[in-house]
Structure formats: C-alpha cells, structure tokens
C-alpha cells in the first residue's frame, strides 16, 4: 500500500513539476512581451476553424490557446526541439556531452521529492503525507541537490570545447558556489527559527500571522536574491550573457538538449517558488483561516492555497528577471561575498541569541 501511494505521489509530483515549468516558460515569453510592450507569440493555432459542429468548442479552445501563445511556446517549440539536428562539437566526448544536461536537470527533479504538497490527510483509513520521500533532512537535501547541478553546468561548458562555453561554465560555477554559502547559512537560520529540518514541520510552525516573512524578513530577502542567482536568471544571468560570450555554457547544444537546460532552469524557478512559499509564506496556511486537521477536503484547500502562492512567486521571479538590468561580474561577487554572506551570518547569530536567551531563558 505504501509503495502504491509513493508511486502515485511521484507521478503527481513529476507532472506538477513539468506543468509548473511549462507555465513558467509560457509566462516568460508572454509576460516579457507585455513588459516590453510587444504582442508576443499569438499566431500558431489562432486561425484553426472547422465545419464539424461537434468539434467547434474544441477548436474554440485551441484558437484561444493560440492567441494566448500557449501552442506556440509549449507545443511548437518542443516539437521543433525534438526534430532539430542534434550535433556534437568536434573533439569532444559524446557521453560527457549528454551527461551535462542530465546532471543539470535531474537533481532539481529529485529535490521536488522533498516538497510537501499539502498537509497530512486521511483517506480510506490510511494517513497520507503528500510528500514523495520522507527523508527527515528536509531543506538540507534541497541544498545538496542544488549543489550537484553545478556539475551539469561545468561539464556542459567543458564539452563545448570552445572558450565561450568554458567561460560561461566558469562564471556559472563561481556564481553558484558563492551564493550557495549564503543559502546554506539562511537554511541554518531557519532551522534555528523553526526548530526542525522538516519542511512540513516548518510550515506547521507558521500558524496564524506568524509567517516566516514576519519573523525572518532578512532571511526572506537574502533567499529571494540567492534564488534568483542560483537559477542563473534575472540580473544574475552572466553565465549566458549573450552580448559577451554567445550563450555561455550551452553555446554548443542544440535541439532537445538545449531545451532540457531551459526545462531545468524553469523547474528551479518553480522549486524556489515552492521553498519561498513553504518556509516564508506559511505554505498551506492563511491568516485567520483554521482548517480542520487530517481531513481530505481541508488538505485539498490547503493544496490550492499553496499552489496559488507558488504561482505568484514564479511570476515574481520572472517579472524581476525582465525588470532589472544585468550586473557586472565584480558587482555580483561583491554582493555575494561582502553583502549577503555577512548579513546572513549576522542574522544567524541574532536569531540564535534571541532564541536561546529571550524565548527559552
């Protein structure tokens, strides 16, 4: 029975991840068009008509999806990615060339196994915790998986066998290592704050108005910035800055392998949206709304609340990415090492002192 539940949950979580990544892809294309005062993708599928009466509502839906750019950004682009020639740069190793995109995506998907989707509930007499792996190390596992993706990027840049890919990979790995430190310290601060490593335990610790963003505002700001830097997007997209180094570490990738890097990037955006919603914005809690514990419909409402927050944070990250100009590399390093890391350490010490001497003493 437990195996079946885990398999079903894994299926749901995988599809949820892919759906959220698709949503981010679509919103990136269409939202950036809105921000830049363009129209954006609106043609593919927009003129589908039929004479068969039964199919008319279906074609109406297709037309609207075409106008909104869904068909163009999701369907056409992925079909194009699959059908395009997948070439290999000369003088490189095919195994390593394939390993790059795999290692860039797989850890992100693994990290989703630790994300609780809703509060615990009871169904058919069994208590179900909607979380694929119950590893009781919570946020640390996400940190570990995030650090593994660096290998994917580094290998991808190295197998590109030219200096622009290599420069992009070096920039990416330096950036990710630097910002991971601040992220680790913030996670430790949150563990001190909530007294648990478990993500659902952290959510349960934020009942009422005591959301993480109220008790740990500095951690929230640091983690938002670090999240933007870890996804290598937004003002931190130096590893792929097109004006200097072509496309950075994925210069030599084409077809579906190239799209897999994008999939990983958007999955990481969704992962950070989940983390922010779960540990700073109360997860499935709303202030002044007390749902009964362990009932399936309450869990469903909680899930909807959580997903609404996640979508908001996906959109916030994408809007920030299209609003802010790119940093210079020395500014990026100064921000990471001289600003965020000391701030997060001070925050950790402050939290520890408050916890030990004021709340328990």
């Amino acid at each position: 029975m437990n195996t079946v539940i885990t398999l079903v949950l894994a299926f749901i979580v995988l599809n949820l991840t892919l759906t959220l990544a698709s949503f981010c892809t679509w919103f990136e294309r269409k939202g950036s068009a809105l921000i830049q005062n363009r129209v954006g993708a609106n043609r593919a599928g927009a003129f589908f008509t039929t004479d068969i009466l039964v199919l008319k509502p279906v074609f109406w839906v297709i037309r609207w999806m075409g106008v909104l750019g869904v068909i163009n950004t999701l369907l056409c682009d992925s079909v194009k990615g699959i059908l395009k020639e997948d070439f290999l740069p000369s003088g490189t190793n095919q195994f390593m060339h394939c390993l790059g995109p795999m290692l860039a995506v797989l850890p992100i998907f693994l990290a989703f196994a630790l994300i609780p989707l809703a509060p615990e509930f009871e169904l058919f007499g069994t208590m179900i915790k909607p979380q694929v792996a119950n590893l009781n190390v919570g946020v640390l596992f996400i940190l570990a998986m995030g650090s593994i993706t660096v290998y994917g990027i580094a290998i991808a840049g190295w197998t590109g066998n030219n200096k622009y890919s290599l420069l992009g990979a070096l920039r990416a790995s330096a950036q990710m290592i630097s910002y991971e430190l601040a992220m680790g310290v913030v996670f430790v601060t949150l563990v001190v704050q909530y007294g648990t490593l478990d993500l659902s335990g952290m959510v349960e610790a934020q009942r009422g108005i005591w959301w993480g963003v109220v008790t740990q505002p500095l951690s929230f700001i640091i983690l938002l910035i670090v999240g933007m830097a870890e996804t290598k997007r937004g003002p931190f997209d130096l590893p792929e800055s097109e004006s200097e180094i072509v496309a950075g570490y994925f210069t030599e990738y084409s077809g579906m392998k190239f799209l897999i890097f994008w999939l990983g990037e958007f999955a990481e955006v969704a992962l950070f949206a989940f983390i922010l919603a779960l540990i700073f914005f109360g997860g499935w809690h709303l202030p002044f709304l007390e749902l009964p514990h362990g009932v399936w419909w309450a869990a469903l409402i909680g899930h909807v609340i959580l997903m609404a927050k996640v979508l908001v944070f996906c959109m916030v990250q994408i809007i920030l990415r299209w609003t802010l100009p790119r940093f210079r590399y020395d500014q990026l390093m100064n921000l990471g090492w001289k600003c965020l890391l000391p701030l997060s350490v001070i925050n950790l010490f402050g939290t520890a002192v408050v916890k030990v001497y004021l709340m328990e003493g």
Binding site: L143, A144, I155, L170
Partner: protein, 203 residues
C-alpha cells in the same frame, strides 16, 4: 551503533543487491579517479565515489550524514577541484620520472590507512567498546542531527577544533603560496591610463 529499530546496525542490514551494486560502483569510480589520465574525468569519478559513500550512509539510515556528504564534499569541495582543473586547462598528464616516488608514497599511505581502519573496526567486531560507534547517528528523529551535534561539541570537540585550525592554516598557506610575487608583477605589467594615447578620430 543502533539503527532505526534500536537494533545494532551491521553491514548485513543493507539489502545485499544494493550493497553490491554501490560497492562495485564505488570501487570502479575510485579506480577511475586515480587511473584516468585526463584530470577532468578523474574529478568526475571522484564525485561518483563520494555519491556512492552518501548512498551507503543513506542505506544505513544516517540521512543527515548522507546529505552533508553530498552537500559538502560532492557539492562544494570537489566543485573547487573541477574549477581548478577547468581554469588551469590542465593537459593530459604524461608519466614522468618523478611519479615513481609518488606511487611508492601513495601505496605506503594506503597501507597505513587500511591499518588505521582495521584498528578502528576490530574492537567493534569482537564486542568491545570500540573507537567507532557514537550512539544514535542513525536515529529516525531529524536524521541524527542532535546526537551528531552532541558528539561533535562534547566528546570530539578538541579534535573538531584542531581540524578546523589545520584547515585554516592550509588555506592561508595556499593563498600565500599562490599570491607570492604575483601582485607586484601584475602592477608592473599594467599600462597606466595616462600612457595610452587616444587614436585620432580622422583616419
């Protein structure tokens, strides 16, 4: 050592197939680390080996150790190796005459390491209070964070601090070695802005 169910954990508690697969993977990747001539492949094999160790920890129920193994060793330290290998663009190592000394030294170090490991394990095998065996590293609550922190900050606090001091010394020494003389050279090589003549716009 006590496991999840309070029973002492021995290696036979890990599913044999899992243990065999991971062990073979670990041995192969460890051999790859030292045998590959291309340093980048060596680093990748080292990462594989560290992930294998993490998988063993996880199979024993020590999830915290396993995660820290991935986050710290595979995720931070070996990335630095990879970084250095890529940055220096190391060429494939040719077997030189200096390597024989290193080989003998490496074999000697390996023998010493095996002896130390045996010394640590033998008291455990014959049921004496051994050198290994901090209780509860594999506890189900919080993946053994609490007992591990207790062990580190009480019983092993001196060793813990000594190791951090050694690491600090090594860090400062490597920075000093790397930076020796470079700063002065760099300053001499730079062309002052005032010496650069702007090109006339009309040619």
């Amino acid at each position: 050592m006590t496991g999840i169910l309070g029973q002492p954990v021995v290696f036979s508690d890990i599913p044999l197939l899992f243990f065999g697969a991971v062990a073979v993977f670990m041995v192969v990747s460890a051999l790859g680390t030292v045998l590959f001539r291309n340093p980048l492949y060596g680093v990748i094999c080292l990462v594989g080996n560290l992930l294998g160790v993490a998988a063993m920890f996880a199979a024993l129920g020590a999830y915290f150790l396993s995660t820290v193994q991935v986050a710290v060793y595979a995720g931070a330290i070996t990335v630095l190796f990879l970084f250095v290998v890529m940055l220096l663009n190391l060429k494939i190592e040719e077997g030189g005459e200096g390597l024989a000394v290193f080989k003998i030294a490496a074999i000697g170090a390996g023998v010493v390491f095996v002896c130390i490991m045996m010394y640590a394990y033998i008291p455990d095998l014959i049921n004496l209070p051994g050198l290994v065996g901090d209780e509860g590293l594999m506890s189900p609550v919080d993946g053994g964070v609490l007992p591990m922190g207790r062990a580190l900050f009480t019983r092993h606090v001196f060793l813990f601090e000594a190791v951090s001091a050694v690491l600090m010394v090594a860090l400062i020494a490597s920075v000093m070695l790397a930076a020796r003389g470079t700063r002065k050279r760099k300053l001499e090589r730079q062309i002052p802005v005032s010496n650069v003549q702007p090109r006339p716009l009309t040619d």
